[in-house]
């Protein structure tokens, strides 16, 4: 369904752009009178259906990327606007959603794993492998040391209280589900998200 619509949009957008050139009628107006209308910047951009990352209205958005997804073209997001088909937002966006591009392209995006050593006053770049190894090691150390298999009454409780996990309400259901599974399997009880703060 999504594909159909995307294809449709692509065709119609290109069609509109093409027909508009004629509709502008500049040939009739003559060179001297041709105005400098900025070309429609999404004419051949790839369109992807997505959802606004902010509030729980979860407005439909269309993300426009440069590049046609061919192997040797890296897609870059050039524009985001509302999905006119989405029943709730019907193409509209709020000031946050309308500027979602500036979130994706924020200069404050994190790009590499980093570590700040104890007492240090700076972050240092590290590899994913080193970072993940370190985290797994820290987790295991703490869990093995502080895991509570039984409480004072001798009841099996299998909980781990010295490490906590704040999850995010902005991840997908699938990512959240994996997060839940992993965190609970370790016995962490201190698992929370933004739902009640």
């Amino acid at each position: 369904m999504a594909v159909t619509r995307r294809q449709f949009m692509k065709v119609s957008a290109a069609g509109l752009a093409a027909s508009s050139v004629g509709a502008l009628g500049f040939t009739g107006a003559g060179e001297a009178l041709a105005a400098g209308v900025r070309p429609f910047k999404l004419e051949r951009a790839t369109e992807t259906r997505n959802a606004c990352p902010y509030c729980a209205v979860a407005c439909g958005v269309l993300i426009y990327t440069m590049g046609d997804r061919s192997k040797n073209a890296r897609s870059e997001i050039i524009h985001i606007e509302g999905d006119p088909d989405h029943p709730v937002n019907r193409g509209t966006l709020c000031p946050r959603g309308a500027a979602a591009l500036d979130f994706v392209r924020s200069p404050n995006r994190l790009k590499y794993p980093m570590v700040r050593k104890p007492g240090s006053d700076k972050f240092e770049r590290i590899s994913w492998d080193a970072a993940m190894d370190r985290i797994a090691k820290l987790m295991k150390e703490d869990r093995d040391k502080n895991f509570v298999a039984k409480n004072r009454d001798g009841v099996t409780v299998n909980r781990w209280l010295t490490t906590g996990f704040f999850g995010t309400s902005s991840q997908s259901n699938e990512a959240g589900y994996l997060t839940y599974k992993l965190v609970r399997a370790t016995g962490i009880l201190g698992l929370e998200d933004q739902a009640r703060i």
Partner: protein
């Protein structure tokens, strides 16, 4: 939301209270504007500030922060006293007629069963119905018995006269009565009111009871289950609904199941309190299926390792003694009781109350892992930012590892909006640098832990070793595959219960609905309410049919709404007990002689005839909705007004019990609360429409639209303090102080509370020391570290401060 964003257009009256829908949810608010423009609806806004929602309201009334229960109880008193309730609905669909045990009492601000020493209602046995020999609740259909719920309710709210409401809330009596009158008009069968609330109600020590109050009003008016009705929580994050459903919460498991407590030592113990036997004849009591959902979930989590013999891997789940909510975790951190912490897309330094305490807690950790697409204050809590974060990095021994993640645009998967609609989104591009998705990070972490435990052993490795992760690519699973697991499938062939010779499901077949789930291990399913989202017919969350055949705003084939693709909850209640719509105008789900029908999926057994008298509130064992909450709430079966913990006045109703008596206060916070003699101004925190929490300060356009922290204050307060627009002021609470620019406005007038003018000051939450916006003191320096008695949501919305004019902060060098 019990209803949906689109459904709001069907309403006749919108009450925005405890929220600021226009600013926080502009695109959802469009349906309010639509209802006004095309359905003749009126909009009421009750808020301490004249907000941008109020700017388009028909009626605005001010209210002192933290007094919503007094207001709403006053509304109930008006409705009951002026017969502006939907009699038939109330009688048939609520527990109005149920008789309450004689042990239930309310005196001097306390319900029966209170233990002064433990600050809890230890004995809540009286908070229940009287039962007959069959275990059925006793009722008085005539509603004459003084022990009837409705009569107890009348007595309970009798104290909330318009004068008392004005005294507590500061809402002028005439405004209050005007609003009552408007609300009363929706008690008829052909008119509905919708309630839209958000954190303005939850972020109080009486948060859950605020919402209950409104639910009770809606029940009295007959507006639950109705188009254009309902109690609608406008949720904050794009997938906070989904993540709540999937239970990233201390004591929950997915689908609103509850994690076992340490008292429930075995699976049998656990199920004992979850039998959910009907307490009225012939009722559905849907939670009777609890075991099916739980076992299927354990099968999802632990696969073949969850067997009948090991109680479905019951011991693999941690058992809790107390809740480990955000406030508790922060308190433990600050007490040095924690070593490690993950912050995955949650900026704890900004999001938790009492920043000083959070900062101290983080500093005591051995390690902190921050998983985020953006720079955050949390990741840099150890960094000196001048007076905005005045710390000494050398003294902080926490190791901090930061992992960069993708954003929404760079991954795919489903998310659940506030209307419970699960919708898929597609990936548009790769992220910058080396970013990875949360799924990939979790998979990587799991794989390393599993390998380590397999190799070296360690504490109770079983749940880790047996956790299912059997995805085609276990290092970076396909989201669709995970959604299939959440939906559930048949582990083995499932015979048809009606005819065992037939197969209901083949092994491996995706479950079409949660009705087929089983408690014998034959089905698996991670979150029962999501079952139906990914069936053999495909991924329902990808559906994008924008048609709405009846024009009621249902859009049945757009995404998938849990449960069972139902858009309006309790929609059986939109028809009268005989199955006829209450009115033609509000026709939604009705009995056509052989089955329930209508534009939506009935929230009811589809072929159960009305004469079976099965109540519409099928999740409750009584089949009706509760005006009297029984023992479901820790702070009382009826809502009662208590002052915020930073109490502005002694509670006029019962000065000895000023604040919520069962609020949890940590020992470390005994002196964390302010008194009006030192902090005579009531403050409230809130969001600005230009920003989203602590993210958009990193987005250029949003930084342009609201570049800098300010506090809003009325002209009277500003004059008293000699403050003009744009002046720097210092705001101080018992917890600390911040500097901000002053925004002097007519929109915050002093209100008369208990006969005296009360100034209200507003502080937006969005600004910190990281971001493209101007550096600022995080405002959670000011907020009290205490939560709602029911669910521990921090009391951000009402606290006491003082304010004075000051000099600009010394700017520190920009970082990040």
């Amino acid at each position: 939301m019990t209803n949906s964003w689109n459904d709001i257009k069907n309403t006749d009256l919108v009450l925005v209270m405890g929220g600021n829908a226009a600013e926080a949810h502009p695109c959802g608010f469009k349906w309010v504007v639509e209802a006004k423009a095309n359905n003749g609806a009126k909009l009421i806004v009750v808020d301490p500030r004249f907000t941008r929602t109020a700017a388009v309201a028909d009626v605005y009334a001010p209210i002192r922060p933290g007094t919503d229960i007094a207001f709403l109880s006053g509304v109930m008193r008006y409705l009951l006293g002026n017969n502006k309730i939907h009699q038939e609905y109330t009688k048939a669909y609520t527990n109005a007629s149920y008789l309450v045990k004689p042990g239930f009492k309310f005196e001097d601000g306390l319900f029966s069963g209170f233990d002064e020493g433990r600050k809890a209602y230890v004995d809540r046995s009286g908070w229940d119905y009287e039962f007959d020999e069959q275990g059925m609740a006793k009722v008085d259909e005539t509603l004459q018995d003084p022990r009837c719920v409705i009569n107890l309710l009348k007595a309970h709210v009798e104290r909330y006269t318009p004068e008392m409401v004005e005294r507590i809330c500061g809402t002028p009596k005439d405004k209050f009565l005007k609003i009552c009158e408007m609300i009363g008009t929706t008690s008829t069968s052909d008119r509905t009111m919708t309630s839209m609330y958000a954190l303005g109600w939850t972020q109080h020590t009486t948060g859950a009871q605020n919402i209950r109050s409104m639910a009770m009003i809606q029940l009295l008016l007959g507006n639950m289950g109705m188009p254009g009705g309902g109690v609608n929580a406008l949720r904050g994050h794009s997938n906070v609904q989904g993540i709540t459903d999937l239970a990233l919460l201390s004591t929950s498991t997915p689908g609103y199941l509850v994690l076992p407590t340490e008292k429930e030592t075995t699976y049998a113990d656990y199920m004992k309190s979850r039998a959910f036997k009907p307490i009225r004849p012939g009722q559905t009591s849907f939670w009777q299926n609890y075991g099916k959902f739980f076992v299927s979930q354990q099968k999802s989590f632990f696969g073949a390792a969850a067997t009948k013999d090991n109680d479905w891997a019951y011991d693999y789940l941690p058992k809790f003694d107390v809740g480990y909510d955000t406030l508790k975790i922060v308190d433990m951190m600050a007490a040095g009781q924690m070593n490690g912490l993950f912050c995955q897309g949650l900026n704890l330094m900004m999001a938790a109350p009492n920043k000083t305490k959070v900062q101290a807690g983080l500093s005591k950790l051995k390690w902190l892992v921050v998983i985020d697409p953006l720079e955050t204050e949390t990741a840099r809590f150890w960094e000196n930012h001048g007076e905005f974060n005045n710390v000494d990095p050398k003294a902080i021994q926490t190791e901090v590892i930061v992992l960069p993640t993708t954003t929404f645009a760079e991954d795919e998967g489903s998310a659940t909006n506030s209307s419970r609609v699960i919708m898929w989104h597609w990936k548009a591009a790769e992220g910058p640098g080396e970013v990875r998705s949360d799924m990939e990070i979790m998979s990587d972490l799991f794989s390393r832990l599993k390998t380590a435990y397999a190799k070296d052993g360690g504490a109770f490795p079983d749940p880790i070793l047996n956790l299912t992760w059997n995805y085609s690519n276990p290092h970076n699973p396909d989201a669709a595959e995970v959604l299939k697991e959440i939906n559930g499938y048949a582990v083995e062939d499932v015979p048809d219960p009606a005819d065992p010779s037939k197969l209901l499901l083949r092994a491996g077949q995706l479950l079409p609905n949660f009705g087929v789930m089983r408690d014998d291990g034959k089905t698996s399913g991670g979150c029962w309410i999501y079952t139906g989202v990914y069936t053999e017919a495909g991924n329902m969350s990808m559906r994008r049919d924008a048609s709405d055949p009846t024009g009621k705003g249902v859009f049945p084939n757009w995404g998938f709404a849990w449960p069972a693709n139902r858009r309006v909850l309790y929609n059986r209640a939109s028809a009268d007990p005989n199955g006829k719509p209450w009115s033609e105008r509000k026709k939604y789900v009705w009995w056509n002689g052989s089955r329930w029908t209508g534009p939506d999926v009935p929230d009811y057994a589809p072929t159960v005839a009305p004469d079976k008298a099965v109540g519409p509130f099928i999740m409750n064992p009584e089949g009706t909705a509760r005006l009297f909450a029984r023992a479901a709430m820790p702070d009382g079966p009826f809502p009662e007004h208590y002052e915020p913990m930073d109490a502005y006045i002694a509670n006029p109703l019962h000065p000895k019990v000023t604040t919520n008596p069962v609020v949890r206060v940590f020992a470390a916070d005994a002196n964390a609360f302010g008194k009006p003699d030192k902090f005579p101004i009531v403050a409230t925190s809130y969001r600005l429409t230009e920003h989203f929490h602590y993210w958009t300060k990193n987005a250029h356009a949003n930084a342009v639209l609201q570049p800098e922290l300010f506090v809003e204050m009325g002209e009277r307060l500003a004059a008293a303090k000699g403050v003009k627009d744009g002046d720097w002021v210092e705001v101080t609470s018992q917890r600390g102080s911040i500097k901000a620019k002053a925004c002097v406005t007519k929109r915050l007038r002093p209100i008369m509370v208990d006969g005296k003018p009360c100034d209200v000051l507003g502080v937006p939450i969005h600004y910190g020391f990281i971001g493209l916006t101007r550096k600022a003191h995080p405002m959670n320096v000011l907020t009290p570290p205490v939560g709602d008695a029911s669910v521990q949501t921090p009391e951000y919305k009402a606290f006491l401060v003082d304010v004075k004019k000051t000099t600009p902060p010394a700017q520190s060098p920009a970082v990040a």
